[in-house]
């Protein structure tokens, strides 16, 4: 696929339910081979947006173009979707379950079986293939659900809160898998309200709040443009050392660390030198980039 052509274009889409506006005038572009973060608090309109992308509901106004075509039922087979609220047939065996969902995506026969086995092995679930789904732990069920969304090798993968309920080991497995799919030039939309995860995985982000887009662009650009003159700091010595209004604008203590916001234009090196000169033992000194969390809070405040 031509990497310059966007996989998905939303053009000023809106969706209301009765008096409630879930999505209003949202436009965005998602490019292939990238992880696109759709971030925002609960109830911002993320799930409604995704439902329109996967053609479960249609927007009231605006258009959706996927792979250069207007949205249609046939395109659904090229999308993989992991909904936020997981759903599996409890009484079905894992293997049969995957086979059923593969067939729903028009993947049949031997090819389906081969891929099911490959994915089960990859996510360390092979031993559970003939077990009923309800016998699996929540984390395992989640991985099974993930397989249902990738089994048909979709070009666009939409993951709604893929890490919720996973233990750290499985979070890592999932992250690696997502990055692997990305390297295969798949397009991935990651919807989450966990900003730290978005920061680690996403290339591009779109923030929505109360049905509206607040901000979008490349994550790196956004963070650079919002770079604040701040330092994360840990040292042994008197706190009073930081009490210098010429350099330090604000101090916030987080555990045994300080997050120090410097006065505009002040050189962080001045602060470091001063600390070292007074004999403090500095164990951490790091320039802080603006976190998505902070940016988001800032944007929400700005919007009132």
């Amino acid at each position: 696929m031509d990497s310059t052509q966007p996989t998905l274009i939303l053009d000023r889409i809106s969706k209301s339910f009765g008096d409630f506006t879930a999505v209003s005038d949202l436009s965005l572009e998602v490019r292939p081979g990238r992880v696109f973060g759709l971030i925002g608090p609960n109830g911002a309109g993320k799930t409604t947006t995704i439902r329109m992308i996967v053609n479960i509901t249609a927007p009231d106004t605006g258009t959706i173009k996927l792979f250069g075509q207007t949205m249609a039922t046939a395109l659904q087979d090229r999308i993989g979707y992991l909904p936020e609220e997981r759903g599996l047939y409890k009484k079905m065996k894992v293997g049969e379950q995957l086979r059923f969902f593969a067939e729903l995506k028009d993947l049949h026969g031997k090819e389906a079986d081969t891929r099911i086995d490959r994915w089960l092995a990859k996510l360390q679930l092979s031993a559970w293939k003939d077990k009923r789904t309800k016998e699996l732990s929540k984390g395992m069920q989640q991985k099974v659900q993930f397989i249902t969304s990738v089994i048909h090798d979709p070009d666009l993968l939409i993951l709604d809160e893929p890490f919720s309920g996973l233990d750290p080991v499985n979070v890592d497995i999932m992250k690696d898998t997502i990055l692997e799919l990305k390297s295969e030039n798949k397009t991935i939309i990651l919807s989450t309200h966990q900003m730290e995860i978005a920061e680690k995985l996403c290339d591009d982000v779109c923030m929505i709040n109360r049905s509206r887009k607040v901000l979008d662009g490349k994550l790196r650009d956004i963070r650079r443009s919002r770079a604040r003159n701040a330092v994360a700091l840990r040292f042994e010595g008197s706190d009073a050392l930081l009490n210098d209004p010429e350099v330090v604008a604000n101090i916030r203590q987080v555990g045994d660390e300080f997050e120090v916001l410097l006065v505009a234009g002040a050189d962080p090196q001045v602060l470091l030198k001063r600390l070292v000169d007074t004999g403090a033992v500095v164990t951490k000194f790091e320039l802080v980039e603006a976190s998505l969390h902070d940016i988001f809070i800032e944007e929400v405040k700005k919007a009132g």
């Binding site: 979707y81 759903g87 059923f100 067939e103 729903l104 028009d106 049949h108 249902t148």
Partner: protein
């Protein structure tokens, strides 16, 4: 199309493999026999031994005859009254409700021995109260001229015993009058020789009225039970997909119409599988019992065909409504409540069939068999009792199929929206809006 097939396959395979299916397949016929035969038998059984009747004969000559009539079994059949609403062509005179149960009597002559009638009556009452007797009859002196005898019993609700006593007295009275009018006692016996009806369907087909009644009743009940059972399967399946949020993935893969059709067809195939097993078992049983004294009702092959057609029609109508209900509610309990009116509709159809068995060509029968929610049971009942003109069968089927298609069309619109709505039960105005907007 392949996706539709995948849905059908899943519904079918997952259900046929369950223990529930195996158990229901085995228990179904037993339940059916239980529901049809047991009440009739129960009705007929007089528990607790023979009925003890005391007879006070003030005529001085009637006791022997009455006692003989009561005790003697040969008179059992002869005085049956025809059903009042019977129409020509009605071929089920032996409905269980009409049958006199087998009741045996022990009769005892009570002599006044100088007591006044009131004293005798009081003494008898006391004996009934002590449970030495179940009841007593006082034959007045002027019985032969039409004076009413008096019957008193502990259980006056036991209509069968009462009727039996009444009939016995009447028969005894008739014989006595004949003898008194100079007819030889032997002649009287000959003239009173009872016969029983040999029942045949119109057109000279030999049929056994009783088994035919059970056949009609059984088929009606079977449709009723199956539609209810499999309709609720659909309800359960839809609620499961809504509760577990599987619906979201399903709708992201296919349209709601084939999804719902797949579900309906899949479950209907489960039902047909079960019925095929029953049919095979029934035919084997018939073949095995052929020639023995115990006979099972003979079912013409065409009835099997009609049964399947009308079952499917009923199933698709009711199961579709169940699917809508399932998509509107949030829990199984709510589903059960909301589905209650549907069940009542089905029950009404079933009860109507009692009337239709008696008069299958009445205008009530006609309209009931045209109304699509009743037709699956009522039309089948008409076909089995007295086959209506073919155009009526076709019309009933046509209306039913059109209704089913219309319902499915509306339902698939409600289904899609309802399945994705969580948290609260949908209201009817909301549902109406979905139908218009979808």
């Amino acid at each position: 199309m392949k996706k539709l097939f995948a849905v059908i396959k899943r519904e079918y395979v997952q259900r046929v493999r369950t223990k529930f299916f195996v158990i229901a397949t085995i228990l179904g016929p037993l339940l059916l026999v239980g529901f049809t035969v047991v009440p009739a038998v129960m009705f007929g059984i007089k528990a607790g031994g023979p009925t003890r009747i005391g007879i006070v004969d003030q005529t001085g000559k009637m006791y022997a005859r009455v006692a003989q009539e009561l005790v003697n079994d040969r008179t059992r059949v002869q005085t049956r009254k025809p059903p009042q609403s019977a129409t020509p062509g009605f071929n089920n005179p032996n409905a269980p409700g009409d049958r006199e149960p087998e009741t045996s009597f022990v009769v005892e002559e009570v002599r006044a021995d100088g007591r006044s009638l009131d004293q005798v009556r009081n003494d008898l009452d006391a004996r009934v109260a002590r449970k030495e007797l179940d009841g007593f009859v006082i034959l007045p002196p002027n019985l032969l001229n039409g004076e009413q005898p008096e019957y008193s019993a502990r259980n006056t609700a036991d209509l069968f015993t009462r009727t039996k006593v009444e009939n016995s007295i009447n028969r005894a009275l008739r014989s006595q009058r004949m003898v008194e009018n100079g007819i030889d006692e032997k002649k009287v016996e000959q003239m009173s020789e009872p016969i029983s009806l040999r029942t045949s369907g119109a057109g000279g087909k030999e049929s056994k009225g009783e088994s035919s009644f059970f056949l009609v009743f059984g088929l009606g009940l079977l449709i009723y039970m199956s539609v209810l059972l499999y309709g609720q399967f659909v309800l359960g399946a839809v609620i499961e997909e809504k509760e577990t949020r599987i619906a979201e993935i399903l709708f992201s893969s296919m349209r709601s119409f084939p999804l719902m059709m797949g579900k309906l067809i899949g479950v209907s195939l489960v039902a047909l599988t079960q019925m095929s097993i029953w049919a095979i078992a029934f035919l084997s049983l018939s073949a095995w019992l052929a020639g023995s004294s115990f006979t099972v009702p003979h079912i013409p092959p065409l009835i099997f065909v009609y049964f399947v057609i009308f079952f499917l029609m009923g199933y698709f109508i009711y199961a579709t409504v169940y699917a809508v209900v399932g998509s509107m509610v949030t829990t199984t309990q709510e589903g059960g409540q909301l589905a209650l009116p549907i069940v009542l509709l089905l029950v009404m159809g079933f009860y109507l069939s009692f009337n239709i068995i008696r008069s299958p060509n009445s205008s009530l029968a006609f309209w009931a068999s045209m109304f699509p929610f009743f037709a699956p049971i009522t039309m089948l009942v008409r076909i089995v009792t007295e086959t209506p003109p073919f155009w009526q069968i076709l019309l009933s089927l046509g209306i039913g199929i059109a209704t089913a298609i219309g319902l499915i069309w509306v339902a698939s619109r409600i289904y899609r929206v309802g399945m994705l709505m969580t948290g609260k039960k949908a209201t009817l105005p909301e549902v109406w809006r979905w139908v218009r907007q979808a």
